[in-house]
C-alpha cells in the first residue's frame, strides 16, 4: 500500500480540481492505497511522518508555504510538483519584478500599519514568488495550467507502479492542426483583431502564439479554439528559457512592435507562467548594476 498526500501552496486549487475530475479513475488510484493528507478532499490536519508520494500544487510566496513544503519534503519518499505554479512559479510570478513591500502597500493600503501588530500566526510574505524546486528537491514535474487529466492519471499510475513517467518531448506546434505556409506577416497582432484565416497558423498571422516554445501534450486545444497558445505548460526542454526564445524569434519578425511595450506588459505574453524561472527575471532582480 502506498501512502499519499497532497499539499496546496500559493495557487488556485485548479490541480486539485483536475484530480477530482478523474472521478472513477481517482477512486481507482486511491482505493488500494491511502490518501493520508489532502486538506481539500478529506478531513486531515497534518502530513503523516512517512509518506510515499506527495503531490505539491502551487508556488512558495509566504514563510508558511516554505515551512510546509520543507516539512512535506522531509516526510516524503517521492515528491512531485504538479501544475505550472509548482513547476515554474506560475502566473503570480508576473509580480516578481515589483518590490514586495510596494505590492503589499498597494494591495492592502493603510492596513499594513495594522498588520504589523498582528504578530504570531500570520504568514510572512517573502520578497518574491518561488517555484518548488528552488526550495526542495523535486523528483518529477507535471506541468500545465492546469495539467491534462489524462497525463496526471498516467503519470501517477506510472509512479505508483515504480516506473518513471514520460512527458511529451515535442512542442505544441507538433500537435496543432492549423496550416503553416512558412512566411510570417511582418506585424504583431493583438487578440482584439479577428484572425483573417481560421485555418492558418496563428503565429504566422502575427499573433504571439507560444506553441513553438511550449511542451506538447495538450493537443493544442487553445489554438484549436482560435486563441494563441499562452505557454501554460512551460518549455519542452527545461534547458531553454521559454519566453526569451520566443522574444528572439519575434524580434526578427517585427522589431518595432516588440520594442514598443515594457517588460511589465510583455512578460505576460512571453513568460505568463514561467517568469520566476526566466533568466530575464534573474537579471531584473540584480540591483547591484554590476
Amino acid at each position: 500500500m502506498t501512502v499519499m498526500a497532497t499539499l496546496s501552496l500559493s495557487g488556485d486549487a485548479g490541480c486539485h480540481v483536475i484530480l477530482a475530475s478523474l472521478h472513477e479513475k481517482l477512486l481507482g488510484l486511491l482505493e488500494p492505497h491511502e490518501l493520508a493528507f489532502c486538506q481539500i478532499l478529506k478531513d486531515s490536519r497534518d502530513i503523516p511522518d512517512h509518506v510515499d508520494l506527495t503531490l505539491v500544487e502551487g508556488s512558495v510566496r509566504t514563510e508558511n508555504d516554505r515551512e510546509r513544503l520543507r516539512e512535506a519534503r522531509a516526510r516524503a519518499k517521492i515528491l512531485v510538483a504538479i501544475g505550472s505554479c509548482a513547476c515554474f512559479g506560475g502566473i503570480q510570478s508576473l509580480c516578481n519584478f515589483v518590490d514586495s513591500q510596494e505590492l503589499m502597500k498597494e494591495t492592502y493600503g493603510a492596513a499594513i500599519a495594522e498588520a504589523k501588530s498582528l504578530g504570531k500566526n500570520l504568514p510572512e510574505v517573502l520578497p518574491k514568488n518561488i517555484p518548488v524546486r528552488e526550495i526542495v528537491e523535486v523528483d518529477f514535474q507535471i506541468p500545465g495550467c492546469p495539467p491534462e487529466p489524462d497525463e496526471v492519471a498516467s503519470c501517477l499510475g506510472a509512479i505508483l507502479r515504480g516506473e518513471t513517467p514520460q512527458l511529451s518531448q515535442k512542442n505544441v506546434c507538433d500537435e496543432c492542426k492549423k496550416k503553416r505556409g512558412g512566411d510570417f506577416e511582418a506585424k504583431i497582432r493583438r487578440l482584439t483583431e479577428k484572425p483573417s484565416d481560421l485555418e492558418r497558423c496563428l503565429l504566422e498571422l502575427g499573433y504571439i502564439c507560444m506553441g513553438p516554445a511550449t511542451r506538447a501534450g495538450c493537443h493544442a486545444k487553445c489554438v484549436a479554439a482560435n486563441v494563441p497558445c499562452d505557454g501554460c505548460r512551460g518549455p519542452a526542454d527545461l534547458k531553454y528559457d521559454q519566453g526569451v526564445a520566443m522574444l528572439d524569434a519575434l524580434i526578427a519578425a517585427d522589431r518595432e512592435t516588440v520594442s514598443t511595450y515594457s517588460v511589465a506588459t510583455m512578460s505576460a505574453m512571453y513568460h505568463r507562467y514561467s517568469f520566476a524561472t526566466s533568466v530575464l527575471a534573474k537579471l531584473l532582480e540584480r540591483k547591484d548594476r554590476r
Binding site: 485548479g14 477530482a20 478532499l41 490536519r45 508558511n64 498582528l118 504568514p123 510572512e124 486563441v227
Partner: protein, 451 residues
C-alpha cells in the same frame, strides 16, 4: 480569569487554507476569528500594464474551481469600458458556459465536500460516499463531468477556458459537440433532480443540525433581471430582512458597496454603504440567489423550490439551507442547459464583433457559483489596464462566516464540555455550507509584512 484558544487548522473540505480560532474562558466564548492564511497572489496589481484583452485568461487563474465566472466577469468589464456589444449568439454561448460552471462547481461541492458530512459516512470524503452509495457517487461524477464538458465544448478547455474575448467568442459550438452534450444532459437531468430530492429528504431530517445553523437574519445580494433568477447579466438586487428590495446597476457598485478594513485582521469586509459597518453586511451565493429572485417556475424543479420555501421560509436564513439551495440550483441549471442545447440557435456562427480599444472604466458582474463577482478595470488609450479591483463572493461572505462562527460557538460552548470535538465539527459544517473559496479571496488575506 485565564482564557484559552480552541483552533481548527486547517479547516478541511474547503478550497484554500484557513484557521478558526475561538477564545474561551471556563464558561463563555470571548471571541472567534476565521483567519485566512492563504498566500496572497496580488492579481489586481499583476493586471496593471497588461493588455486588457488578455485579462479574461489571466484573471481566471484566481480560481481553479470557478474560472469561468472570472473569465466572463473580466471580459464583460472590458466590453463595458470599450462600449462593445457581443453578438447575441456569443452571449448565448457565454450563458451556457456559466451554467456549465455552476453545474461542475455545485456537483463538486455537494459530492466531494458537503455530502460526506450530511450522509454521515465513515470516511469523510468522496471515497466514503462511494463506499456507502456507489450509485450516488456515480451520479455526482456524471454531473460534474457534464459541467466540465459544457465548459470544454464552449470554452475550448474544461478548466481555464479560452474562448471569451472582448467582442464575443473565438469560436461557435460545433454541431457534434452540441449533440454529445444533449445526450449527456438528458441523462443528467433526472440525476440532478434525484440529488435534490435526496438532499431534501435525507438531510432535511437532520433537525438538530438545522436548528443549530439557524443563526442570523441577514440581507442578501444577487443579480436579477426584472426580478427573475439570473446568472450572467442584470441588476444587483439586495433583499433586506424586512423584505424591502434595493436595486442598482453593476457600474454603480462602488456607490453602494464599501469595504471596511477591520482592525483585528487584514480582512477587508464589504458592506452596504448606506447602512454602515457592521450593520450593512450581506450574504451572497445560492441562498441569496434563491432569496432575491422570484420563485423558480416550470419543470420539476419548481416542486423542489416549494419544498425549500416550506422548510426554510422566504427569505430563507438558515445557513444549512445553502446546501439545499445548491442542490436546487444544480437541478435547475441542468434543466436550463438542456433547454439551451435543444434550441438550434446555440449553433449560431455570428459570435464576434471587432472591439475598438479606448480609454475608459468598465465594470463586469456575473453570478459565480459562490455568489456575486465584480471585476472593475480602468483601461488607457492603448488598451492597457491601469487599475483593477476585484470583489469575489467569498470576500463578501467572510464577515457573515466570522460572525456566525462566534454565534455558533457561543450557542454550543456551554453544552460542549464533554464533547468539544462535536462543537468544532459543527462549526466546520457551518463554514463548509458557504462553500468558501479562499483562493478567490484576493482581498481577504491576513498576513504580516516581510521583515
Amino acid at each position: 480569569m485565564s482564557c484559552r484558544e480552541l483552533t481548527i487548522e486547517p479547516v478541511t473540505r474547503i478550497e484554500g487554507h484557513s484557521r478558526v480560532t475561538i477564545l474561551v474562558d471556563k464558561k463563555k466564548v470571548k471571541g472567534a476569528r476565521f483567519n485566512i492564511v492563504e498566500s496572497p497572489r496580488f492579481f489586481e496589481k499583476l493586471l496593471e500594464g497588461k493588455f486588457a484583452e488578455e485579462a479574461p485568461r489571466i484573471t481566471q487563474r484566481i480560481c481553479g474551481v470557478c474560472p469561468v465566472a472570472h473569465h466572463l466577469a473580466s471580459v464583460k468589464a472590458i466590453e463595458a469600458a470599450w462600449d462593445c456589444q457581443p453578438p447575441e449568439s456569443a452571449v448565448k454561448l457565454r450563458r451556457l458556459m456559466l451554467i456549465g460552471q455552476i453545474i461542475s462547481s455545485h456537483s463538486l461541492h455537494l459530492g466531494f465536500l458537503a455530502l460526506p458530512d450530511l450522509l454521515e459516512v465513515d470516511e469523510r470524503s468522496i471515497l466514503g460516499v462511494a463506499r456507502k452509495d456507489p450509485r450516488l457517487a456515480s451520479c455526482i461524477f456524471k454531473l460534474n463531468r457534464f459541467g466540465l464538458q459544457i465548459t470544454e465544448a464552449v470554452g475550448g478547455r474544461a478548466v481555464h477556458p479560452v474562448s471569451a474575448i472582448p467582442g464575443g467568442m473565438s469560436k461557435p459550438i460545433e454541431g457534434e459537440r452540441r449533440d454529445q452534450l444533449l445526450a449527456s444532459g438528458k441523462e443528467c437531468v433526472e440525476m440532478a433532480y434525484e440529488l435534490a430530492v435526496l438532499v431534501d429528504n435525507k438531510v432535511g431530517k437532520k433537525e438538530e443540525l438545522i436548528e443549530c445553523l439557524n443563526l442570523s437574519r441577514t440581507r442578501y445580494a444577487g443579480v436579477t433581471t426584472d426580478g427573475r433568477y439570473e446568472l450572467y447579466d442584470g441588476k444587483v438586487t439586495v433583499l433586506e430582512p424586512s423584505g424591502e428590495k434595493i436595486e442598482f446597476e453593476a457600474k454603480d457598485y462602488s456607490d453602494h458597496i464599501a469595504e471596511k478594513t477591520v482592525p483585528h485582521s487584514y480582512a477587508k469586509h464589504p458592506y452596504l454603504h448606506r447602512f454602515g459597518y457592521p450593520a450593512g453586511i450581506y450574504r451572497v451565493g445560492p441562498l441569496s440567489r434563491l432569496n432575491v429572485a422570484a420563485e423558480l417556475r416550470g419543470g420539476k424543479v419548481a416542486e423542489r423550490f416549494r419544498s425549500f420555501v416550506k422548510k426554510f421560509g422566504r427569505p430563507a436564513h438558515n445557513t444549512l439551507a445553502y446546501n439545499f439551495g445548491r442542490a436546487i440550483e444544480l437541478a435547475y441549471t441542468v434543466e436550463q442547459a438542456l433547454n439551451m442545447l435543444e434550441d438550434s440557435a446555440i449553433e449560431g456562427n455570428d459570435v464576434f464583433s471587432t472591439p475598438h480599444p479606448k480609454a475608459g472604466r468598465g465594470v463586469g458582474i456575473v453570478e459565480a457559483p459562490r455568489g456575486l463577482l465584480v471585476h472593475d478595470y480602468q483601461i488607457d488609450a492603448e488598451g492597457l489596464i491601469t487599475r483593477a479591483n476585484i470583489i469575489s463572493p467569498t470576500t463578501q461572505n467572510a464577515p457573515s462566516i466570522e460572525s456566525e462562527t462566534l454565534l455558533l460557538a457561543s450557542n454550543l460552548f456551554p453544552h460542549a464540555a464533554a464533547n468539544l470535538k462535536h462543537m468544532l465539527s459543527t462549526i466546520e459544517i457551518m463554514i463548509r455550507a458557504y462553500d468558501p473559496c479562499l483562493t478567490c479571496s484576493t482581498h481577504f488575506v491576513e498576513l504580516r509584512k516581510s521583515a
